[in-house]
């Protein structure tokens, strides 16, 4: 039952990611890849879509994965049902936890157990995102075309170049949406100019 699987998987993702945003990336990457719902390349593409559309990353990715695996292009209704299951799954844990915390806020705030766990969770998320970046870089830079000797290598260096320029721009506080747009333009211009195989 795909809809139940979507709900449970995203419930688990919602329950175990602290910090929001990209803190979710490692767990999503592992779960979504394990179920065969999205490839690594599709996931990276979707991060770009999510950056350029409003709303939190978690809701965006849950809706997208639910839509794709629940139905695809032929079955829009199935897709929407899948999207509802996945989104409900990712939202429900924080909803329930916050309702409880709102009632016992003072005890929660002073809790040494919560503080202690957070001391371990914050650095853990950093290590985990680092690992997600390594695996994403693997997909982005060494795509299938890498074995096509000359073109593959050229593409590899061009990807590195775009990555380097965009990293520089993001440290100059250029807006993420602008970075996504610039990368798209760079991809189209370089792609047509050199007739790349992507």
């Amino acid at each position: 039952m795909i809809y139940l699987e979507l709900f449970l998987t995203f419930f688990c993702i919602g329950l175990f990611t602290f910090g929001g945003g990209y803190a979710m990336l490692p767990l999503i990457q592992q779960e979504v890849a394990r179920q065969g719902w999205l490839t690594d390349a599709q996931l990276v593409d979707f991060v770009a879509v999510s950056e350029s559309t409003p709303g939190p990353f978690a809701v965006n990715i849950a809706t997208y994965v639910g839509m794709q695996t629940g139905g695809g292009t032929e079955n829009v209704l199935g897709g929407i049902l899948g999207a509802i299951c996945a989104t409900l799954g990712v939202v429900l844990p924080s909803f329930i936890v916050i309702l409880i915390v709102a009632k016992i806020y003072d005890a929660f705030k002073e809790s040494k157990i919560v503080k202690g766990c957070m001391m371990g969770l914050k650095p853990a998320v950093i290590g985990l995102i680092g690992s997600a970046i390594v695996s994403m870089a693997n997909t982005v830079l060494f795509a299938d075309s890498f074995n096509v000797s000359v073109f593959g290598e050229l593409q590899f260096y061009l990807s590195i170049l775009i990555f380097a320029v965009m990293t520089l721009l993001s440290f100059k506080k250029v807006h993420p949406i602008l970075i996504v747009c610039l990368s798209a333009v760079a991809g189209i211009v370089i792609g047509y100019a050199l007739d790349l195989k992507v």
Partner: protein, 185 residues
């Protein structure tokens, strides 16, 4: 304002917040602050700081956490449902449409080239986010060890991320208890 008017207002306000914040996470805080503190006076600036502190130590996205929290403060459980639904709905609608369009358009050569470029750009964005988080993280020997441990377990040993998350929380807890015990002696 009656309770139902408040609930509808919560829904429309958080719908607006969900529709107009790009990037999610902390990008939402200024708009949430403006709408809930300045415009509607539902909560105070202190509450906003509280919400950020809670969101950081509870699971899930900060947008959902703050919508649920504010909704509950203003109109109880029904309020929190209205606010959470409001903040989720814009993303849900927009992404559903995009998912359908993406399937239609991804065979076009220009779209393929665009995404080839975008993938490299996204890598840069995630790297930037990682560095920002690293800068904000309190650093001590334990933090560096946990960072390295989490990285090695996930990237090299391929251990399940859930296990790593739980284990690191336990390490943090044990460390804080041991450290406190040491200080008292």
């Amino acid at each position: 304002m009656t309770k139902w008017q408040k609930i509808i207002k919560l829904f429309t306000t958080f719908f607006r917040i969900g529709a107009f914040t790009f990037g999610g996470g902390y990008a939402m805080i200024p708009l949430i602050q403006k709408e809930t503190v300045e415009t509607h006076k539902w909560i105070t600036d202190d509450d906003i700081l509280e919400i950020i502190a809670i969101a950081e130590s509870t699971p899930g996205p900060i947008a959902i956490n703050s919508a649920t929290f504010v909704g509950f403060r203003v109109a109880g459980v029904l309020g929190s449902v209205a606010a959470t639904l409001g903040v989720v709905l814009p993303s849900f609608i927009i992404i559903s449409v995009i998912a359908l369009l993406l399937n239609e358009f991804q065979h076009i050569q220009a779209v393929k080239y665009a995404f080839w470029g975008i993938r490299a750009g996204v890598l840069a964005l995630v790297l930037k986010a990682l560095i920002n988080m690293y800068k904000k993280c309190k650093k001590n020997v334990m933090a560096y060890i946990v960072m390295a441990l989490a990285f090695i377990c996930a990237a090299i040993l391929g251990i399940h991320v859930l296990i790593i998350i739980v284990a690191c929380a336990v390490i943090g807890l044990v460390y804080s208890l041991v450290k406190k015990g040491g200080n008292e002696q």
